[in-house]
Symmetry: C2
Subunit: 243 residues, 2 copies
Amino acid sequence: MANPTAAMLVIGDEILSGRTRDANMHHLAGKLSEVGIDLKEVRVVSDEADAIIAAVQALAKTYAHVFTSGGIGPTHDDITAECIAAAFDTPIDIRADARALLQAHYDRQSMELNAARLRMARIPDGARLIDNPVSIAPGFQLENVYVMAGVPSVFQAMVASVLPTLTGGAPLISTSTRIERGEGDIAGPLADLVAAHSNVSFGSYPYIKNGVYGANIVVRGADSQAVSDATQALIQAFSDAVR
Amino acid sequence: MANPTAAMLVIGDEILSGRTRDANMHHLAGKLSEVGIDLKEVRVVSDEADAIIAAVQALAKTYAHVFTSGGIGPTHDDITAECIAAAFDTPIDIRADARALLQAHYDRQSMELNAARLRMARIPDGARLIDNPVSIAPGFQLENVYVMAGVPSVFQAMVASVLPTLTGGAPLISTSTRIERGEGDIAGPLADLVAAHSNVSFGSYPYIKNGVYGANIVVRGADSQAVSDATQALIQAFSDAVR
């Protein structure tokens, strides 16, 4: 049976302007691989309502799960929750359970739950809260969309809250073999291996290091014996160039 | 006049599986900002023809420029050139000028221009070659799509070849001010600044460092005086928390 599919939507002008380098995509990709959910697509869009709504609708329709990061804080540019509600044509308002979490948190710190912070209690009707052990303000799940924070430590904590609730497929086993030879020399023998080992996939990821050409050949599959056999065959085929 | 828009398409299973952390998005985003081209969207898709073709068609229709990275090498999983040709319903074959570049390169190195390497001379009809000073095998431009390599050093060299040929808009000036105060306290005064300085944009990018909450507030605009004025006002509004 095929693994469940997923997409990620990164919301944030700061990534598109080149100011910040996204870290959440790489984190989520690794975690989903571990539990056997296939990340098939990532989109990065700016903090514009039309762009967010269109992307959420397209991805939620196509993939089993959609994970978003960014735009759920208290400032004027945090519009993700409203956009998710709009994408599903669902009402959104301050919700008692989210408000209670924030109230208790700020009471403990003798800080005021002001109007801005209260925006973080705006949750679409019918959504389930996602626990935020780092800074309390919750994420939420609406339909098949998981809405999480952009700050990496909070994003990672929310992913850790969500993943155990999802049913994955067979985690993919993979090996990576470094072959110090130009891809043009690797390609022919590799094509033969691809044909001979149809129950695994081969990826070739070239590099240039200190002027030397090579490629990391990744063998990936759900059947560990098949991955092992294919990797053995690969190593034999390029025995003089494996590093 | 609004700046020209752009999108990027990253092609590669290795990013989606979490094995490799993409570097090209961050590089391109920074370079486009410098020349006044607004990167509005990034998509990452797997090495599957249907996904690549659909993404290219959607992005090429929506944005002035589309930049792709990945999948133009000699191995079996390098299918980008064929997909771009298919997306524009254009024939593709080995082209004499691209072949001549490769032939001269491999002759110099006393290496064989074998069948696999020759695949890198497959160029859609009517495309313009993009210079690759690092490893010779060219990228190409077809319509408004710029097809470039995934290896970061080659991608960066190709971006450097392409950018001078594009007409940008007004480069955006930006400042970043670090305010050591929770976003919930920043949000109110910041909303007033947003209202008072309509010719710039404000972005709030929260962080948590050693348990201390803060945010980097980015002021961005094409008019340097307006950016400077807004930044001054920002610093005054949070004078006791600017770090």
